[in-house]
């Protein structure tokens, strides 16, 4: 085990972490501002990936594909909000869970109907494929490095949006007291649609970016959705800062655990059983992490009291 391998895996963990942040940011904003739990967020991730794969298939341009993923997911999100979600803000969480679960069924089966059950493939463009040499003698895939940079850039952009712009002030005010900002003349329902579409666009972009590494298929959003839930539970629901911290923590834990736990187990077990025991434990590691954090801080790292 060399330090190059360790550094590579840290970069992989960072890559998973920033993608999880793109998912978790939308979820946590929607919960923070509208008080809504949205299980269908993974469907928007899937919509983004499929839109990107379709557009890349027609035009051959990866950049257009990414644009399409943003636009399609934002449009799907806005539509979802206008038709269904806005009826749910005043309902209890059970109704929200069920209605958004119903949306998953509709979106998943609808996508299967449109595109079929076979996975689509989205190719990494030639100018982003191949390895790149990093200081310290590490060869790392250029595309993954690009993903990390895009994710970090979006994280910075999102913090600036929320901290510095008028719309960010309205979002924060909406979290604190929605009646008051409605009374101050902010069109609250337009703000809600906007926040929802923004979260959807981020999820769609994540879907497209990850879709080029993995395959694009129905149901691809759900494992990510659940990881994103773990992220925002760890970070504290409603906190963007918490989402970033949680995403990096989960990304690192999942990646490093999956690689190094089986190796660690070989120190005191025979190789075959060490591999399977290590893999089993690694698959549970982030949930154990979540349980441990909740024991110490029941409302997450950056969560207020709920």
């Amino acid at each position: 085990m060399t330090y190059i391998l360790v550094l590579e895996q840290i970069l992989n963990g960072l890559q998973l972490g920033v993608m999880l942040f793109l998912m978790a940011a939308g979820l946590t904003l929607v919960f923070g501002v509208m008080g809504l739990i949205n299980l269908a967020h993974g469907a928007l991730y899937m919509v983004g990936a499929f839109a990107a794969a379709a557009v890349a298939g027609w035009t051959g341009s990866f950049l257009l594909a990414l644009m399409a993923s943003l636009a399609a997911a934002a449009a799907a999100g806005a539509l979802m909000e206008l038709v269904v979600i806005r009826r749910l803000y005043r309902r209890d969480h059970l109704d929200q869970v069920l209605a958004t679960f119903a949306l998953i069924l509709i979106f998943s089966e609808g996508t299967r109907w449109l595109f079929g059950s076979f996975p689509l493939f989205l190719d990494v463009p030639s100018y982003l494929s191949g390895p790149v040499s990093l200081p310290g003698g590490i060869e790392y895939p250029l595309y993954r490095l690009t993903i990390i940079l895009i994710g970090l850039a979006i994280a910075v952009g999102l913090f600036l949006l929320i901290a510095r712009t008028r719309i960010g002030i309205q979002i924060r005010a909406g979290e604190a007291d929605r009646e008051m900002i409605a009374a101050l003349g902010v069109d609250i329902s337009r703000l809600y649609t906007l926040v929802f579409a923004l979260g959807a666009a981020l999820a769609g972009l994540a879907g497209a970016l990850v879709g080029a590494i993995q395959s694009v298929q129905v149901g691809m959003g759900e494992p990510v959705l659940i990881l994103a839930f773990v992220v925002i539970v760890i970070g504290g629901i409603g906190s963007i800062k918490g989402a970033l911290a949680g995403a990096l923590l989960v990304g690192m834990t999942d990646t490093l655990g999956g690689v190094f736990l089986p190796r660690l187990f070989t120190l005191f077990m025979e190789p075959a059983s060490a591999a399977s025991a290590g893999a089993s434990l690694a698959s549970m590691l982030i949930y154990i992490l979540m349980a441990a954090i909740l024991l110490v801080r029941p409302s997450g790292l950056y969560g207020g009291s709920t």
Partner: protein, 329 residues
């Protein structure tokens, strides 16, 4: 007690669930008997969830964990028995089992223990955190089952012959249906008694106003945890029966889609209604069978129906037919 429209509906439902397979039996239609058995078993899982959800107000999106643990209890015990490989040799020799009563006992105990651990951790939180944490623990077991290669991993575990019940031929569909039906009726009876018992009343009170319950000297946490354990145990029993019905158990039983489906049974029928899960599971099986015959994408229709019920008919089917009065709570 004055018979209400709802109690009439309940009796009609439970009678229909008995009459349909009996009619199918006399017409020699084993497939319909199997569908009815599936409905009875899924209803049992829903009755379990309804104790936590309807009575306790605990929105658990992780009940597939208990359903799957019940299923794996059946799979593991029966696999060891059929392969003649002892499950463990210390402190005594145990070769697994193909006796249903023992399998059920193990399923109940294991899922109750899992519910105790998951509940004790999850109930430290409430609201949306509780939903996400139960979901996450369910997924944890799902991924564990996938990576657990000793018992089939992703492929699951098949059993060649259905397990035995003393005095019955379980391979005969109508006899296996009878087992599932009797267990469902017992569970319904138990749930009805529980709802009226001091424990059930205290639990419902804790759902409505936890502070007042605490002020009269009861602990909401203990009440909820007990309800969660009972709920998990019943769902686990349903899981063991479901695995026996299919003679197959796989990680799918643990996936969060299963949790969502069990919740759909409860909601289609009506939350907090004692017979809601029976109506919901029967309706689900009916829809799956009818719509599934029309289109491979029948879950779109299920999704739309569920959406309409949540948005516009919040009492579920029983609520629509019997008006707004509730069975309990």
């Amino acid at each position: 007690m004055i018979p209400t429209r709802e109690s009439f509906l309940n009796w009609a439902m439970i009678a229909a669930l008995l009459i349909v397979p009996l009619a199918a039996w006399s017409l020699d239609e084993p497939f319909i008997i199997t569908l009815a058995t599936k409905a009875a078993i899924l209803a049992l899982a829903g009755v379990g969830l309804n104790i936590a959800l309807g009575l306790g107000g605990l929105i658990s999106l992780g009940h597939a964990a208990f359903f799957g643990i019940g299923g794996y209890a059946m799979g593991i015990l029966a696999a060891h028995a059929q392969n003649y490989e002892p499950l463990f040799e210390w402190p005594f020799l145990f070769e697994g089992s193909n006796q249903m009563p023992l399998i059920w006992l193990v399923a109940i105990v294991c899922s109750a223990c899992a519910a105790l651990v998951i509940g004790a951790l999850s109930l430290r939180t409430s609201g949306v955190y509780f939903i996400m944490i139960t979901l996450a623990f369910g997924q944890m077991l799902y991924y564990f089952a996938i990576s657990w290669s000793a018992y089939g991993g992703e492929d699951g575990l098949s059993i060649w012959v259905r397990n035995d019940f003393p005095g019955l031929n379980t391979l005969d569909p109508i006899q296996f249906f009878a087992i599932a039906y009797v267990i469902l009726c017992l569970a319904l009876f138990f749930a009805a008694r529980l709802a009226r018992a001091p424990f059930g009343l205290a639990l419902a009170a804790a759902r409505q106003n936890a502070d007042r319950v605490e002020a009269v000297g009861l602990t909401p946490f203990t009440l909820r945890l007990t309800a969660f354990v009972i709920s998990g145990a019943i769902t686990g029993l349903a899981g063991a029966l479901f695995a026996d019905l299919n003679r197959f158990v796989s990680p799918t039983m643990l996936s969060w889609h299963t949790s969502g489906e069990i919740m759909i049974f409860v909601i289609l029928g009506g939350v907090g209604r004692l017979y809601g899960p029976v109506v919901g599971a029967a309706l689900y099986i009916l829809l799956e069978h009818l719509l599934g015959g029309i289109s491979d994408y029948w879950q779109i229709f299920l999704g739309v129906l569920l959406l309409l019920i949540v948005l516009f008919a919040r009492g579920g089917l029983i609520g629509a037919l019997a008006g707004r009065e509730k069975a309990h709570g």
